[in-house]
Each structure stands twice: as structure tokens, then as C-alpha cells.
């Protein structure tokens, strides 16, 4: 594995995302909604701070997730469709190095967007004379981990289908179900049959475990397995 090559491709991903109008739309959306959260907070009167922080965390999660899934799928698909990937693979670059570089670029930029939006939010809190709590950073860490895991699943579907829409829709469905895995397991345990569904649920990460003691390890295992399978499949994929 050539780390220099991976770094090069990751940087190109960051540049590409930086130049994309979609990135600016999402970023503006996050900044505007952070400001809107102040108005919502005012309406909540007694729980202004809670509304402010909950709303901010929700929009950050949804906004950055949307951004990372769409950027990841479009960047890889457009490289294949425009045959730009030929120019890259005609260099001493392995297919999996290309894919890993692309993926890491998007993950790094997702992290940077979260950091930047958080800074804006902290400034808003300070303007409102609220204390900044460590819990926010912790929750933002959880959001970033969830985005990494869902992005790795999106990577797998992008490799399999090379379709932006399919990959995006499946990833969003997995993200939704991942928040209710525990409840679904409980519901299925009360019903006879559906054995296949019960086992299928093990393929989906359970986001309710994220703040448990082994949460980080559990999420990393999912992230690692989905990424590894994507890299292996892409290395074997015939690019035409």
C-alpha cells in the first residue's frame, strides 16, 4: 500500500469537494439553521439552551450525512463515467488505493465541516452567554462515528452499483434502521418466523450501542469490515 498515493488522491477529493457548489449549499444550510436554532430557542423560553443544542446536533448530523453520502457516490461515479479513472489507474496506482484515497478525503472533510460548524455554534452559545459543555463535543464525536460507518456502507453500495441514487437511498435506509435495531430485534423476538430478518439485522450497525462502553470498538468493526469488503470488491472490479 502506497500511503503517498492515497494521500494524493485524498487531497484531490478534498479539493474537488471544496470546489463543488453542493458543498457550499450544505454548509450555508447548516450555518443558516444554526442561526434559526436561536429563534427556536427563544420560543422555548425555559429550555432555550436544550432546544438550541438539540436542534444544532440534529441538523449537523443530517446535513453532514447528506453531504458525505452524495459527495462520495458522485465523486467515484463521475470518475468512472468520465473515464477520468483511466488516467489515474494508468499510473502506478492500485484500484483499492484510489478508492481508499477518495473515501478518506470525504471522511476528513466531513470531520472538518463538523469542526467548523461546531465553532460557529460555540460562538452563538457564547453570544447568548451560555456555558459550553463537554457533552456537545462528545455528541459530535458520536455523530462523526455514525457518519463514518454509514459512509463505509455507502462506499460498498457505490462499488457494487456505481449508481449515486441507489447508493444514497440504501445508505439513508440503513441509517434510519440503525437507530431502531434494538427495537426491531425486540419486536422480531415476539413474532414466530422472520428468522431471516433476525439475522439480517446483524448486518446493520446498532446505533443505540454507540454511547456504551464498547461502542467505539463495535462501530469501528462495522466501519472496518464494510470498508475492507468495498476495497476488495473494487480491486477485483472490471472498470469499463
Amino acid at each position: 500500500m502506497n500511503l503517498k498515493t492515497i494521500k494524493h488522491i485524498a487531497i484531490s477529493s478534498i479539493y474537488e469537494a471544496k470546489g463543488s457548489k453542493f458543498s457550499y449549499i450544505i454548509f450555508s444550510f447548516l450555518v443558516i439553521l444554526s442561526y434559526v436554532s436561536i429563534l427556536l430557542g427563544i420560543m422555548a423560553v425555559w429550555e432555550e439552551k436544550k432546544i438550541l443544542s438539540d436542534f444544532f446536533l440534529s441538523i449537523t448530523q443530517v446535513g453532514v450525512l447528506f453531504w458525505s453520502l452524495i459527495m462520495l457516490a458522485t465523486s467515484i461515479s463521475s470518475d468512472i463515467e468520465t473515464k477520468r479513472i483511466y488516467l489515474i489507474l494508468s499510473r502506478p496506482v492500485r484500484k483499492y488505493e484510489y478508492l481508499l484515497g477518495r473515501f478518506l478525503g470525504i471522511i476528513i472533510l466531513s470531520f472538518l465541516i463538523i469542526v467548523f460548524v461546531t465553532l460557529i455554534f460555540f460562538i452563538l452559545l457564547l453570544i447568548k452567554r451560555y456555558k459550553i459543555e463537554w457533552g456537545y463535543v462528545n455528541n459530535l464525536g458520536f455523530i462523526f462515528i455514525k457518519i463514518c460507518v454509514i459512509s463505509s456502507i455507502s462506499l460498498l453500495f457505490t462499488v457494487i452499483t456505481t449508481s449515486v441514487y441507489t447508493s444514497f437511498i440504501i445508505s439513508m435506509m440503513v441509517w434510519f434502521v440503525a437507530h431502531f435495531v434494538n427495537e426491531l430485534k425486540f419486536a422480531l423476538s415476539k413474532i414466530n418466523g422472520f428468522i431471516f430478518m433476525k439475522y439480517l439485522l446483524y448486518l446493520i450497525p446498532d446505533f443505540s450501542l454507540i454511547d456504551k462502553k464498547i461502542g467505539y470498538v463495535y462501530m469501528f468493526v462495522y466501519f472496518f469490515i464494510f470498508t475492507l469488503i468495498s476495497l476488495i470488491l473494487f480491486e477485483r472490479k472490471e472498470i469499463t
Binding site: G19, Y86, E238
Partner: protein, 244 residues
């Protein structure tokens, strides 16, 4: 040096699997093709659309792997997971797309970096000046015309100073002046000692600059002809007889 074989291709074949929703189809793209390229030559590959020219080029560049046969480059057989030999190859695809937000300089740094090169300003200026777009060094690629894009594409193939250049339709869709510029550039590169494999639809271009021509018909090798032999005949007539 002239008769030293740089590339030897022996009986390569390639079949693509086309997956539809419920069934697989097989398409034989290249069948049992053999030829060689000597160092310092410009060799043309001619053929109709879909004849298999691009597949042959993709196999040489390692973008796709042959199902059978072997490819030797600089005397060594290319194994399925070899990538080091690509440091000595510069590939230009038909209609090259670059990252639109990169400048010409950043594009060269990107592709040079992929070939493990640490580039300085002098390398970049020299290559951009060779292809005649030095004054657009800081310009974003999205503002480039088709001709400038093609020149930048040629610059990316030269930035790591490879000995072997593979150009797939480098003059496709260009105006006559840009075609003349690219032709002169190819002849200049030949004089600089580069070996060039040139796939083209334009018989007149190939006729003017190539030392040898390979004609591919329906994935199979139809004819290999040296320049001395087509000087007496019309290459267009030969092409019609062997490629159609």
C-alpha cells in the same frame, strides 16, 4: 537502439462480461492479437469504432487485464499485480477529463505525484512550455478549451518523463490548427527519443507521422504494415481493404 523491442504483445485476448438485470452476456473485444513496438518508433493503431483499439491500450496500461496472452514491457513480462512499469508509461485517453477546480499546475502536480514524482516549479514550467500552455499555468481547467485541455493531457503524460507514450485519439474533435500543433508535438517527442503508440481514426494523421501501422478488425489483428510499404500505395485503400 532503433530495433530494440520496447513492447511485445503475444496473443492477448479479452472478453467483457456485460451484466443485465437477469442475465450475463459475453462480448469478445480482443482476440489473439500479437505485435511489437520498437524503441523510438511511432506506431499507429487503426480500426473502426468498436474494433478493440481502446481495449488493447487499456490492457497495456494495466487498466484492465487480458484473459490470456502476455505483455512484455522493456523485456519483462507484466504480471497481473505489477504497477511499477507504469512509471515509464504516459497514457492519454480519448476526451480526457480533469478535475475542473484544479489549475494546470495542480493537475500536473496531482498526476506527477501519482507517479511518485516530487515536482519543482522548473519541471512544471518545462513541460507546460513544451506543450505550449505555460501562460495558462495558474488557470483553472474548467476554463480551458478542448485544444488546451488536450495539450494539458499531453503534459500530464510527460510530467514523469516516461519512455513510452500511449495516445488514444489525441486529435479527436480538435480544429485543424490544434491538430497540426499536436502532430508537430508528437514529432518533437519522437525526436526527443520517446516511443509512441497512437490510436486514431484519422488515416491522414497516421500516414504523416507513423513508422508502422497496425490495423485491427473486429478485435483481431488484420495487418501490420511498415511505412516503406504504404508509401507506394494509399494507406486509405489499405485501411478499407483490411479494416472494413
Amino acid at each position: 537502439m532503433k530495433n530494440e523491442k520496447l513492447l511485445v504483445i503475444t496473443s492477448i485476448s479479452k472478453t467483457y462480461i456485460i451484466k443485465d438485470l437477469f442475465k450475463k452476456r459475453y462480448k469478445r473485444a480482443v482476440s489473439d492479437v500479437s505485435f511489437s513496438v520498437n524503441r523510438g518508433e511511432i506506431v499507429g493503431i487503426l480500426g473502426l469504432n468498436g474494433a478493440g483499439k481502446t481495449t488493447i491500450i487499456k490492457m497495456i496500461c494495466g487498466i484492465t487485464k487480458p484473459d490470456s496472452g502476455k505483455i512484455e514491457f522493456e523485456g519483462k513480462e507484466i504480471r497481473p499485480f505489477d504497477i511499477d512499469y507504469k512509471k515509464n508509461i504516459g497514457y492519454l485517453g480519448e476526451l480526457p477529463y480533469f478535475y475542473p477546480f484544479f489549475t494546470a499546475k495542480q493537475t500536473l502536480e496531482f498526476y506527477g505525484g501519482l507517479s511518485d514524482m516530487d515536482l519543482d516549479e522548473e519541471n512544471i514550467d518545462s513541460v507546460l512550455s513544451t506543450v505550449g500552455i505555460l501562460k495558462y499555468k495558474g488557470e483553472k481547467v474548467k476554463n480551458f478549451s478542448k485544444g488546451m485541455m488536450q495539450k494539458l493531457a499531453i503534459a500530464t503524460t510527460l510530467i514523469h518523463n516516461p519512455s513510452f507514450l500511449i495516445y488514444d485519439e489525441p486529435t479527436s474533435g480538435l480544429d485543424p490548427i490544434a491538430i497540426r500543433d499536436i502532430r508537430n508535438l508528437l514529432l518533437f517527442l519522437k525526436n526527443e527519443g520517446k516511443t509512441i503508440l497512437l490510436s486514431s481514426h484519422s488515416i491522414s494523421e497516421v500516414e504523416k507521422i507513423c513508422d508502422k501501422v497496425i490495423i485491427i478488425k473486429e478485435g483481431k489483428l488484420s495487418l501490420i504494415i511498415e511505412k516503406e510499404k504504404w508509401l507506394d500505395n494509399n494507406l486509405e485503400d489499405i485501411f478499407v481493404n483490411y479494416a472494413v
